[in-house]
Symmetry: C2
Subunit: 385 residues, 2 copies
């Protein structure tokens, strides 16, 4: 196990009816900006629950945060923050809304030249408005971590700080019942790949971390398809297990003390930036190919993954690894996401674009060993054709 | 899954050399009381590392906290807290020292009649001195939870508050290399039974919680005996896996959203109180018997435990449960702890004493269903003869 630091103070309120916890979790004297997306929270009753819980609070609202939240949209929130002396941000939505809230919260108190530097120059900041979150789409883990990704002109740029980690997060699985199949499948695949990025590397004998990751992967494999199947999709227990898995997949715990990869994400970001592919669908296209191209570097963990997550123990090493990759692809197909560039109508001609964008963004040494050069990324993309 | 609240803000510093983190984690203007036990930290170099890390701090010390820390000992710390205006407690030791530090921290600012009420009357308190911890013995999880058990006149009395959860904990597995075999075996068994208390109940389909618990149990089963075996006992990876398992076993995570038992602990406390048996050794005596007597109530989980933790999948249900219990007892024997009352020279004549103490302490409705009456506890003790 590697040395590590771990702290995650986000207070989780999990279960049906927990949105009411807002009334006590948000300070009564706060001037709150409720931020959300396109209005689905009005259709599914979440907005009304928030309104009810904040009936004694002073609050304002800012809507229109889109998937892959854009810098330009988020900066528009600064006007109301200034005019209404907002001192608390409440994000109500999925990972994009929470990511957007984090940038809004940091930008509001940024003391540098312009908030764009937080993304473009990874400028440090020492203050951010406090954030709470009501999660409506289990996927990114953003509700209890300090990570955020913001898009400008087709470029997805991350920043991270413990200052923007939500102080609390409400996870009510009943609110996920109104999600579309596509949102559910994207969320499950996102959480699955988050786990893989922190697990499928090289072994440092971190037994707790490995088993926790394997437990999350198994849970997502079991429960994910149920959330897309008519007989079981309304089962609240299925939704609850998916929701808790997605939070645990990226709250810092399973990655503490172990190497991390993240090459699938970095390559996937370019697919979203250049061609607008849903984030999770970029991951399901890239990951199987990463497994194939990085087979030697990840051999030990691929065999462990085959045995423990898929119960594949028969045959020689090559056959077991092949089978684990095949089962991963089959799981993605069961989750109704693409596993090939051709599935999203991309081909050989588009690989140059993607590789040059990786170069432009400095993504020239990816992976847990930093040895995924542009050439290796090209191979990964070619393997995914 | 049950609704739950979960928050654990303790900052973990894990790994070799991490005691140096004290220099920045303890506020430089604090007036620190370093509390510890019998002086083993002076023999193994931990004390010197603490002294070095606090070289710029103002600190005092209070030693002599014993296993099963006593109220009378802990109250002696109040004199130096008052005379030196102590405003920060740093616990350096195992679970008893950390538990003791929690009581010291709460007693120092207690506004009621007398601090004894915190234990005897479960009196509420609104303030406690901040606590940091340097853990030397992985076992109780006290380093990142708000629980404490204090003994007075042979009675073990618990209290719990988020106010006494350590703000940070240093977990350096190298410091565990100087522990005796008995300390290691007690610690591993304690962590194992903590996990079982939150796992072996009735199913609420909490898949993440179940798999995390199973991962901890498997890790302790694999690594525990290695820490007692000459060839492997110096292996730092073994110590690291045990240390992280013990913290995760009782930091609130695996118990969030699932029923909890704790009858083994409650019955075990009377064995310590009445006969001075080491805490972990009371658990290894009582747990197999709880499994036998509560076989019907825990049937589904016993079968899951058999299959997932012990890979016992052959035979009918009764045979699989029998085998899982046998393997649990064998694990305890491998860990060199007793599994019978007769192993610690107790017999039928002592059961009346234990049952009357349970009655005296109000332990008349134990277990995840609250249906372990005194009569059932008697059966459990008789089964353990």
């Amino acid at each position: 196990m590697l040395n590590f630091n771990f702290q995650n103070p986000t207070h989780i309120h999990f279960g049906e009816g927990q949105i009411s916890a807002l009334s006590s979790e948000v300070p009564i004297d706060a001037r709150v900006l409720v931020v959300y997306g396109g209005g689905s929270i009005k259709a599914n009753g979440v907005y009304q629950q928030v309104v009810d819980a904040l009936s004694e609070h002073t609050w304002f609202e800012f809507s229109g945060i889109e998937p892959n939240p854009s810098y330009d949209t988020l900066m528009k929130a600064q006007a109301i923050i200034q005019s209404e002396n907002i001192d608390y941000i409440l994000a109500v939505g999925g990972g994009s809304v929470v990511d957007g809230a984090k940038f809004i919260a940091a930008a509001a108190l940024f003391e540098g030249d312009e908030p764009w530097d937080i993304l473009a120059k990874q400028a440090e900041f020492n203050h951010a408005l406090p954030i709470g979150a009501v999660l409506t789409l289990p996927a990114t883990g953003s509700e209890s971590n300090g990570n955020s990704v913001v898009t400008r002109d087709g470029n997805k740029l991350p920043f991270s700080s413990p200052l923007v980690r939500p102080l609390f997060a409400v996870l009510d699985p009943t609110v996920t019942l109104s999600l579309s199949d596509r949102q559910i499948s994207n969320g499950v695949v996102d959480a699955f790949v988050h786990t893989i990025e922190q697990y499928l590397t090289y072994s440092v004998n971190g037994k707790v971390q490995d088993r926790f990751s394997e437990g999350l992967l198994q849970t997502l494999i079991e429960e994910g398809p149920k959330a897309l199947t008519p007989d079981t999709k309304e089962d609240l227990a299925v939704r609850a297990n998916i929701m808790w898995s997605a939070t645990m997949a990226l709250n810092g715990l399973i990655g503490a003390g172990v190497p991390q990869d993240w090459s699938t994400h970095m390559i996937g970001h370019e697919l979203t930036g250049a061609f607008g592919i849903d984030h999770a669908r970029t991951l399901s296209i890239v990951l199987p190919s990463v497994m194939k191209v990085r087979r030697e570097q990840k051999r030990e963990k691929l065999l462990q993954y085959a045995a423990r997550v898929w119960q594949v123990t028969e045959g020689d090493e090559e056959a077991r690894i092949d089978e684990a990759i095949r089962l991963t692809e089959q799981f993605f197909k069961d989750m109704q996401v693409p596993t090939r560039l051709s599935d999203v109508e991309l081909g050989n001609k588009d690989i140059d674009t993607l590789v040059s964008r990786l170069e432009q963004h400095g993504m020239v040494a990816l992976g847990e060993q930093g040895d995924i050069t542009l050439e290796v990324s090209r191979k990964i993309l070619e393997q995914a054709l």
